[in-house]
């Protein structure tokens, strides 16, 4: 009961802060709104209704000849997509699996495995369309249900999706696959927060609701825009901007999903941990991880796979991908060192679990920053995240009072917020960052003021926290009222492996 109150007050507080922020900055979108109306028809003619799809089969005749995708880009994106699948199915599942007690490992592996599969199917059916087609500022439409129009069997043509460079495209179907892995991984991340006590059917029902009403809209708000090729003249800019997602319109930088993936999932996890309640015996009985080697294997797979996640988010095999690659590498290493050093200083010993957790913390924090900051920025972000997330899983966890079993909020929430805010700092060219595109017509790169950009980043974080918080609250409540969230106490004591799945991991 007290937990619920605490949760509600946190949500209310952030909502208040957010509305304050939006009203302060309300001028910007409001001012551009009329212009948007005016130029919208022109833009529609030039651009198809798909995500960033520019050169769809039925491209306007007056447009320049449709760009042909580069085989190098296609190869890199295929590999990146595979790497993200590797992050989730073996990586995340093993990372989580090792952290639970031996009677629950199969349940965690199953929840990750089946959630990943479920979301992949939903993505093809309607998720992609909701996230990456034109709709309003919050969510897309249903034009691409069942990937309608992505591939035309009659003519054998594939629609193309835009990247971040003018004239560079990749097959839209590849973009769909790449983004499917993000959606599926994000939902799988939440499993860690309510591990060891939630009903399997309840997990799946929650995933369907949360994916539909939180993941797809947030992905749309942060990542949907009309693509660089659409920006052909000054007059079109406001109209095109108005069609993009809300957070994209604000100008928030999120290279590979600090808000969409990590903060989004972490808030859902925290809300879940509050609503489901603590594990039986929490705080009294030992709930020590049953296999840290499995956790280390999982963390290592996550690190390797994350190169696909971050460097792949460049959407082409170019400079931006290379920068994101190096930053993903070095920030993670810095976070491992920082976590271990902090642990050694505070507790006298550096632990394997600390090193593995530090790696994940660094990976999470560098996600929004990957291609958006310079070399030193990445090292600082990693180091700060390593220490901040150690605080997240210890002091902050005690303060929050929720049994977030595997520290989804402590690592992904804290790391995600640290990364999102520091992206606003280190993106600045004065601090060695690459800056951001200030004018998509000419593809001019510049820098906002650090304060201004950090404020935009903070707004994006707050909106994500509130949106995911509210959706999660309602979704968990609905599941609780229909099928119930928790297994019985007896089943929980016996372990979910036998109780929910009828099998044991380790047979003597």
């Amino acid at each position: 009961m007290t937990n619920m109150k605490k949760l509600l007050s946190i949500l209310a507080l952030s909502l208040a802060a957010l509305s304050l922020g939006t009203s302060a900055l309300a001028q910007t979108p409001a001012a551009s709104a009329p212009a948007a109306e005016a130029s919208a028809p022109a833009a529609t003619a030039a651009v198809t209704s798909t995500a960033a799809a520019v050169a769809a089969p039925a491209a306007d005749a007056s447009a320049a000849p449709a760009p042909v995708p580069n085989k190098g880009d296609i190869s890199w994106m295929l590999v990146s997509t595979l790497l993200v699948i590797m992050m989730a199915v073996p990586g995340l599942a093993l990372f989580y699996g090792g952290l639970v007690r031996s009677k629950n490992i199969l349940s965690v592996l199953m929840q990750v495995f089946v959630t990943f599969s479920l979301i992949t199917v939903l993505w093809v059916v309607y998720g992609y369309s909701l996230a990456f087609t034109e709709g309003n500022a919050f969510v897309g439409g249903l034009d691409r249900m069942f990937l309608n129009g992505v591939f035309d069997p009659a003519t054998g043509t594939f629609a193309m999706a835009a990247t971040f460079s003018k004239g560079v495209v990749i097959p839209e179907i590849l973009f769909v696959a790449f983004q499917a892995t993000f959606a599926a991984l994000t939902c799988s991340l939440i499993v860690g927060a309510f591990a060891e006590r939630m009903k399997f059917s309840a997990v799946l029902m929650f995933m369907v609701l949360w994916f539909t009403f939180s993941y797809a809209p947030i992905a749309h708000m942060v990542w949907f825009w009309m693509g660089p090729d659409a920006y052909t003249s000054k007059e079109l800019v406001d109209g095109l901007n108005a069609k993009a997602g809300l957070i994209w319109q604000w100008g928030a930088l999120d290279f590979a999903g600090g808000t969409v993936v990590h903060i989004n999932a972490a808030v859902a996890g925290l809300v879940g941990a509050y609503m489901i309640g603590k594990r039986v015996g929490y705080g009294k009985e030992s709930m020590a991880p049953h296999s840290l080697p499995l956790t280390m294997v999982g963390a290592a797979l996550l690190w390797v796979g994350w190169f696909g996640f971050n460097a792949g988010s460049a959407l082409e095999a170019g400079n931006s991908a290379a920068l994101a690659f190096m930053n993903t590498f070095s920030a993670t290493a810095a976070a491992v060192l920082a976590w271990c050093a902090a642990e050694a200083l505070m507790r006298g010993k550096a632990s394997m679990l600390g090193a593995a957790s530090g790696a994940v913390a660094g990976l999470v924090a560098i996600t929004p920053a990957a291609g958006n900051v310079g070399i030193v920025g990445a090292l600082v972000i990693g180091a700060v995240a390593g220490v901040a997330c150690l605080w997240g899983v210890s002091a902050l966890k005690k303060m929050l009072g929720a049994d977030d079993s595997l520290d989804v909020f402590g690592v992904h929430g804290v790391g995600g917020i640290v990364g999102a805010l520091l992206t606003g700092v280190f993106n600045n060219q004065a601090l060695g960052g690459p800056g951001l595109v200030t004018d998509w017509v000419t593809a001019t790169v510049g820098s906002n003021g650090i304060g201004a950009q950090v404020w935009i980043q903070a707004k994006a974080v707050l909106l994500t926290v509130v949106w995911s918080g509210v959706v999660s609250l309602i979704a968990f409540k609905l599941v609780d009222l229909t099928i119930g969230l928790r297994v019985s106490e007896e089943d929980e004591r016996e372990g979910l492996d036998i109780a929910s799945h009828g099998e044991t991991a380790y047979n003597k």
Binding site: S286, M287, A288, P289, R347, K349, S351, L353, G354, S357, L390, V393, S394, A395, K397, K398, D407, G410
Partner: protein, 112 residues
């Protein structure tokens, strides 16, 4: 006949077994056990969670021996299992009423 039960440090098991076979003990039974004595446990830390481990792993050795052998068995175990540090374990001796070798049906001393 006596039943000698010794609780020793796990890494000393091999030395104890060698010492016992050296003085003619025909067989022993070994069980992995946990317990506490004067030796303190330790603390394990997993992220924010701290667990005090009170029960430490030990090995329990049981040997049924003839009365004439008991003193030498005790000496052998003491010598081979000792490290001089706290937590070396204990030896208990109890009287054994009957022993049966299942295969042959022999009883008492013959069955040892």
């Amino acid at each position: 006949m006596k039943m000698v039960t010794a609780i020793v440090k796990p890494f000393k098991l091999d030395e104890v077994r060698e010492a016992l076979s050296g003085i003619g003990v025909q067989g022993i039974t070994v069980t992995e056990v946990k317990g506490f004595g004067r030796q303190k446990g330790h603390t394990e830390l997993y992220r924010g969670a701290e667990y005090v481990v009170d029960f430490l792993p030990k090995v329990k050795i049981e040997a049924a021996v003839d009365d004439s052998l008991v003193d030498r068995v005790l000496e052998a175990i003491e010598a081979s299992a000792r490290t001089g540090k706290i937590g070396d374990g204990k030896i208990f001796v109890t009287t054994l009423e009957q022993v049966v070798r299942i295969r042959t049906g022999e009883t008492g001393k013959d069955a040892l």
